[in-house]
């Protein structure tokens, strides 16, 4: 049986104020999953990644997602994967979601392509749940659909693709700090002031309008989170100074991607993007934190087949 190759992009959960609701796919980073049909069972024959990850298909999101898709399709056949991680685990860029969605897409494709990307969100999110401990689609949905997505409800799953912003430049900086999603969830407040709810909701609605209308200026002033960022920023050494310097360098906003530690700043100017990146990286360095960084933009396509060559 011949191999296919599937790419699934990195994703920014929350997009600032939109905790557990908004998500965004970005270009230039992601996982590549090669797959082929086999007679039975799910096999992960290789994983290229910085950290060592389990090849046990019941413990790897790719394996679990494949299992869920085969179950949905009522297929007895099997699948073999080779995984090339382009996203480190625990970076806050939807690493486990990228593997899960690429594997879900590949499995469906090899077995007759009967399910839509919308229908693949559920099995991919179930796979993510087993690893992250929570059923949240704010990484799996944008990874699959591309652009910005909105999760109205998880049970039952109700998700739409909002759209894209063509002028948006995103500066992603991943500091070498380890933040476990579970820890980042545990420190969240159980109750919040009514006025903070109004603040975050208003900004999330504006982000939604901005992506629906492809309008960068609307988006630029809406990256304001008064609920989650103040709590999670404490897990990221130097956060406040990095943010101050990013904005001084021209960014229209900076906040945490998902549960962190990756942070992202936004602008619509390529020239400014370079200065912002430099400011963020050098500020982290002053706090003795090494980083990897990239200037990128919205990936409006989402999970897709790529050339086999």
């Amino acid at each position: 049986m011949s191999w296919i190759k599937v790419f699934s992009p990195a994703t920014i959960g929350n997009i600032g104020p939109g905790f557990d609701v908004l998500g965004l796919a970005v270009k230039g980073l992601g996982d590549i999953v090669e797959a082929r049909k086999i007679d039975s069972g799910i096999r992960i024959s290789s994983i290229k990644s910085e950290l060592e990850l389990s090849k046990n298909p019941t413990k790897n999101t790719a394996g679990i997602a494949a299992y869920e898709v085969l179950k949905l399709l009522n297929e007895k056949g099997g699948i073999e994967f080779k995984i090339k991680k382009g996203l480190p685990a625990g970076s806050g860029l939807g690493s486990s979601a990228a593997s899960a969605t690429a594997a879900a897409f590949a499995t469906n494709y090899l077995y007759g392509n009967k399910l839509s990307k919308q229908e693949l969100i559920l099995p991919a999110t179930k796979a993510e749940e087993k690893v992250s401990g929570g059923f949240f689609a704010d990484n799996t949905a944008p990874a699959l659909l591309g652009g910005a997505t909105l999760t109205r409800s998880c049970l039952p799953l109700d998700i739409i693709k909002i759209g894209s912003i063509s002028d948006l430049k995103i500066i992603l900086v991943t500091p070498e700090i380890f933040v476990l999603t579970k820890t980042a969830r545990k420190i969240l407040p159980k109750k919040i002031p009514l006025k903070n709810f109004v603040h975050n909701m208003a900004n999330s609605c504006l982000i939604t309008a901005a992506f629906a209308k492809d309008d960068y200026p609307l988006f630029a002033r809406s990256l304001n989170d008064v609920i989650i960022e103040p709590v999670r920023a404490k897990l990221i050494k130097g956060f406040d100074v990095v943010k101050k310097n990013a904005i001084k360098a021209g960014a229209d906003g900076m906040t945490i991607s998902g549960s962190g530690p990756t942070v992202f700043a936004v602008t619509d100017s390529s020239r400014k993007a370079k200065s912002i990146e430099n400011a963020m990286v050098s500020t982290f360095k002053k706090f003795r934190v090494n980083t990897t960084s990239i200037i990128t933009e919205v990936d409006s396509e989402g999970t897709r087949l790529i050339n086999n060559s």
Copy 2:
């Protein structure tokens, strides 16, 4: 000096989950303000309304709005008004906002039309504040701009017009119950569970996407408010049964307009709209509550000059 005539529509504050953020202008109900230049001072020479309202221009939102606009324009001249209230005060349909916006629009128009509708939101909202006790633009903004609006921030004022939904039919039912905005604010919770924040935010984002894309089916499933409605519904006799029967009659949702007591249900079918209206009115009647009702749609134009005849 010759008279002009300005119409300003009724508005639905919150649009369900979007407390203090979303607002919507509706057709068929509103205030008419006639105005003409006078040498100096602000005079309200007549008010046609069910309830007696003060003609003192410092106590009437129309008079205060005119004062604020003249101040902005740095004008020494005056203005005279005749007001015809089409909206009863305390109905939850933005009655004071309708007078304020019509008067602000008329004043600006008579004195050279130098301010945009966007710029008239501030003086109109200041006028509303003096009467309602809070600076909220979720009625003044949609009344002026038309369609659905989004208030990102009140201080400084940051508001956008999202758009309209052409297929939306709105069944407005005003029960003869008196709810003071101040009371409806006092009973609100000071803190709310994080999960309710996520729920309301997700639904408000979907409403935003629906108005941005003119997409009724998106809107239909998003009229869900788990924060404000459960508290304010207690001020409206029969609310739960009216809602149950509205949905049984085919409504896709029903909730409170602003601080109530007006409630509204939604559908995209004119035929269903009539049955829903009947169900709501007759259910209120079973609770010995008289109502006035109307089937209407989005007013996408907002405050405007109307024919003088």
